[in-house]
């Protein structure tokens, strides 16, 4: 297509902006097709919904701690003194047309935004999509998740209701627990004693300007890198590490992604319309003298809440300094350590495996049993802390003792991840074995044959070549060796301890994984089965209508 073929409006813009050439290249960009590649889109679309509804809310929300007397239409709080922030949140909920709906959509979108980012992260993790060259994009994604959580928490604090105030009070306690600098930081953030009358206006600016701006910038980089790296794909016939097989952006993904955006918006709007979220009018205005049962943060802070809840109350003091280990450990040491591990995982794995190649084909989780096991351990750890954050509701709703739940969790957070790791890894290895079985001996037909000499056997039918290709399209990975103790000149090799550790970890990663069968093994197995008559019914009619583009 030459330039003159553009329809007039496009030509007009192309002459001035050059969009024709950009569009021609990028609209044809090929993306592979799989449902799990759309999880990140949920996050992107909820972010757009958050911006749209958030702008609406800023029109009426008053980020001020000035004391006012409520005279709105919610009669149960009428005449009460409260901050302007809380009063305006009540106004949005009861006196502004569509305000409550917008508030609820905003809040549900926030819940979904972070949940979708997390589900997306899990997909990337379990399929190994974070490997070279995408490690930095993993870090960017992680940063967005982190910022999203902070953003959500600050937003939760803005209405200045009893629950958000209690949440801030707990956060302030955590800040104060940091040795030496704690009190200074608390004074700095709240502009004096808690709660003061500064934080709502400060948090507001951070919530509507700073963090959304950062996230928006990172989204751009994140998506740019997806385009630049090209999307990963699952292995299959015709799909290699050097190409991308899928459909072009125009018209297929424009339709699919565009449609999906409306679905996400629709579901969020439905949730906002039908499911009540954050009923601030029930909580009442924040008053440091009040607290309510069921004081919990939104779900993404729940694991932090849980880690604090299940920590035994230990504190020590020396030289006049009190160290609150009951906060330092669960709030200031464990969570940062956990998120740092998550953020740096691609680099850690790359170092352990010594793999410096580019990877554009995704792993099936079973083919990396140790990584999959680690993922399961992380999920278990996180999930148990989550349970800890709701220990009171678990206790009341399942008729348990609060103390038993807490004590169970104190042990389970250590044992559960180990157990989950071990079980998941064994399951992955078993699945690998099952795959090998399929490759070597084919499918079980369920037909039992009795041989002339009386022996019974089950007939197997070989799997298709396509499936065999898919199952075997992976590397044969062997653990790293420590390397010789001395080099050619008899000089002791440097960093030997580190190399030893690395080969130990590499052993841990790969030693138990099942390797795919060799060509000889497959041939031998097939010759065996050819003795018996086989059932061949898979036709060769399968066609692929996908477009292939070279990865260059």
């Amino acid at each position: 297509m030459s330039d003159k073929d553009f329809p007039p409006p496009v030509k007009y813009l192309d002459d001035r902006l050059g969009i024709g050439k950009i569009g021609r290249k990028n609209l044809r960009k090929v993306f592979p097709d799989h449902w799990s590649f759309m999880l990140g889109e949920i996050a992107l679309y909820s972010f757009i919904i958050l911006i749209l509804t958030g702008v609406f809310l800023t029109f009426w929300f008053k980020p001020s701690m000035a004391e006012v007397e409520y005279q709105g239409s919610y009669s149960l709080l009428k005449g009460l003194h409260m901050s302007e922030a809380y009063a305006s949140t009540l106004d949005i909920s009861f006196d502004i047309r569509g305000g409550l709906l917008m508030r609820q959509i905003h809040h549900w979108a926030a819940v979904l935004f972070i949940a979708a980012m997390m589900v997306h992260l899990l997909r990337i993790f379990f399929t190994g999509a974070f490997r070279k060259p995408r490690e930095l994009n993993w870090v960017i994604g992680f940063t967005m998740l982190f910022l999203g959580i902070i953003e959500g928490f600050i937003g939760y604090g803005l209405p200045d209701d009893l629950l958000s105030g209690t949440g801030l009070r707990i956060t302030q306690g955590m800040i104060q627990a940091s040795p030496v600098i704690g009190t200074y930081m608390s004074f700095f953030i709240f502009g004096g004693e808690f709660p003061g009358d500064e934080f709502v206006s400060r948090f507001f600016t951070v919530h509507v300007l700073l963090i959304p701006g950062l996230i928006l910038a990172l989204v751009t980089v994140h998506l740019f890198l997806v385009v630049y790296h090209k999307h990963t794909q699952y292995a299959g016939p015709g799909r290699t590490n050097n190409n991308v097989v899928g459909y072009p952006l125009w018209p297929v993904y424009t339709a699919k992604a565009g449609g999906f955006f409306f679905v996400v918006f629709g579901i969020t709007a439905l949730m906002g319309a039908l499911m009540q979220i954050n009923p601030v009018w029930l909580y009442g205005p924040y008053n440091p003298a009040e607290v309510t049962a069921g004081s919990q943060p939104d779900w993404y802070m729940g694991w932090l809440e849980g880690s604090v809840r299940i920590m035994p109350g230990i504190e020590s003091s020396f030289w006049g300094i009190t160290l609150s280990w009951n906060l330092i450990i669960p709030a200031l040491l464990v969570p940062p350590a956990f998120v740092t591990l998550v953020a740096l995982y691609p680099f850690i794995e790359a170092w352990i495996t010594g793999d410096k190649r580019e990877h554009h084909l995704l792993d099936r989780p079973r083919n990396m049993p140790t990584r999959t096991g680690i993922g399961a351990a992380f999920i278990t750890f996180y999930g148990l802390l989550w349970v800890g954050g709701g220990n009171d509701l678990i206790a009341t709703h399942f008729g348990l003792s609060l103390n038993s739940v807490t004590w169970f969790l104190r042990f389970a957070v250590f044992l559960g991840p180990i157990l989950a790791f071990w079980i998941t890894r064994r399951i992955a290895i078993s699945l690998q074995r099952a795959d090998n079985e399929r490759i070597l001996h084919g499918l079980e037909t369920g037909i039992i044959v009795r041989s002339p000499d009386g022996a019974y056997s089950e007939k197997h039918t070989p799997i298709s070549d396509y499936e065999a290709y898919e199952l075997t399209a992976r590397d044969r990975i062997l653990p790293l060796e420590t390397g010789p103790e001395t080099d050619d000149n008899g000089v002791r090799a440097p960093r030997r301890a580190l190399k030893k550790l690395r080969s130990k970890l590499s052993q841990f990663y790969y030693a138990d994984a099942v390797q795919k069968p060799t060509r000889e093994e497959v041939q031998e197995a097939h010759e065996h089965s050819h003795d018996a008559d086989e059932i061949h019914e898979l036709g060769e009619t399968e066609t692929y209508r996908e477009v292939t583009s070279d990865r260059s």
């Binding site: 097709d33 449902w35 799990s36 759309m38 999880l39 889109e41 949920i42 149960l76 709080l77 009428k78 005449g79 009460l80 909920s93 409550l100 609820q104 819940v111 979904l112 949940a115 589900v119 009893l162 629950l163 299959g236 459909y247 339709a255 699919k256 449609g259 999906f260 679905v263 996400v264 579901i267 039908l274 499911m275 009540q276 009923p279 029930l282 909580y283 009442g284 009040e290 607290v291 309510t292 049962a293 069921g294 004081s295 919990q296 939104d298 779900w299 729940g302 709701g390 509701l393 206790a395 009341t396 003792s401 609060l402 103390n403 038993s404 499936e467 898979l538 066609t543 692929y544 209508r545």
Partner: protein, 288 residues
């Protein structure tokens, strides 16, 4: 000396005789006589005079108590142990009629089995029986009486009073009972029950007597008007519709998060799977 003797006034007479050998005895007799006649004059002679409905009710309550309550609380409501040295039921002397009306009226008593906390259940006794039990327990020693109808009558509560009740509720009650009165957990298997569907009288009595884990909010701590305002707020909460849709149990962010994941992410991932499976690929004969 002699003229002094002659002009002896009564005061002097007593003063002079006060060291007499039998003076102490005389004073004691006088004292006993005075106390005795004063008692005869002022003491209530209910045992004799009041053989009417009330004493019958107490008598009936005593019988019911002996059958249904005494195995844990002792034959005379003095409290009893379970044979292993642990307290089976506390002494009920001085708990008052209000405590009985609450415990038996909400079905908590008679308890099915001892435990961390005795749960609410449909009442076992009829209202008349409960009144008899209450009268019997009240007859043992003074205690808070069943509140009169007008002390928990909230039909005339103004908006201002309801708001005030909300403030009192948030200050005194939400820490255990949750912001919407939906209940919450307490240590070692105990819990603050939900306040939804509890009658005005029972809420009032609970505050007055502090059943089980609950602290007592006597009329000096929360005055009758305060109690009435709190009840008015609770009833307003109970009848209030959730303006935002389904209330999700009014339990706070935990249930919101659960619903967000189950419904929200569940549906959206479902749609993603659907879009992934549908569309262009469905036209090709892809047998995977």
């Amino acid at each position: 000396m002699s003229e002094k003797r002659l002009s002896l006034s009564p005061a002097r007479f007593l003063s002079a005789r006060r060291r007499h050998r039998s003076a102490g005895l005389v004073v004691l007799l006088f004292g006993l006589l005075a106390v005795g006649s004063a008692y005869a004059a002022f003491a209530p002679d209910n045992a004799v005079a009041d053989n009417s409905a009330q004493s019958q009710q107490i008598e009936e309550g005593k019988k019911l108590f002996a059958v249904g309550c005494s195995s844990c609380h002792g034959l005379n409501a003095e409290g009893a142990t379970n044979g292993e040295g642990r307290l089976a039921g506390p002494s009920l002397i001085g708990v008052g009629a209000a405590a009985v009306d609450f415990q038996v009226g909400t079905g908590r008593m008679p308890a099915v089995q001892p435990g961390a906390q005795i749960p609410e259940k449909p009442p076992t006794y009829t209202q008349a029986e409960i009144e008899a039990l209450a009268a019997y327990v009240a007859s043992l020693a003074p205690g808070p009486a069943v509140p009169a109808q007008e002390s928990y009558d909230i039909s005339k509560a103004t908006d201002e009073q309801v708001t005030r009740g909300g403030e009192l509720f948030r200050t005194n009650c939400t820490a255990c009972h949750n912001f919407a009165g939906r209940g919450g957990a307490l240590p070692n298997g105990r819990y603050a029950p939900s306040l939804m569907g509890v009658t005005e009288r029972h809420i009032y009595e609970a505050m007055l007597t502090g059943p089980q884990q609950m602290p007592v909010f006597s009329d000096q701590v929360l005055q009758p008007q305060d109690k009435r305002d709190i009840i008015a707020y609770l009833k307003a909460l109970e009848t209030q519709k959730d303006p935002g849709g389904f209330g999700l149990g009014r339990l706070g962010p935990v249930s919101e998060g659960l619903w967000g994941w189950l419904v929200g992410i569940g549906l959206l991932v479902g749609v993603a799977v659907w879009i992934g499976a549908k569309g262009v690929k469905a036209k090709g004969a892809k047998a995977e």
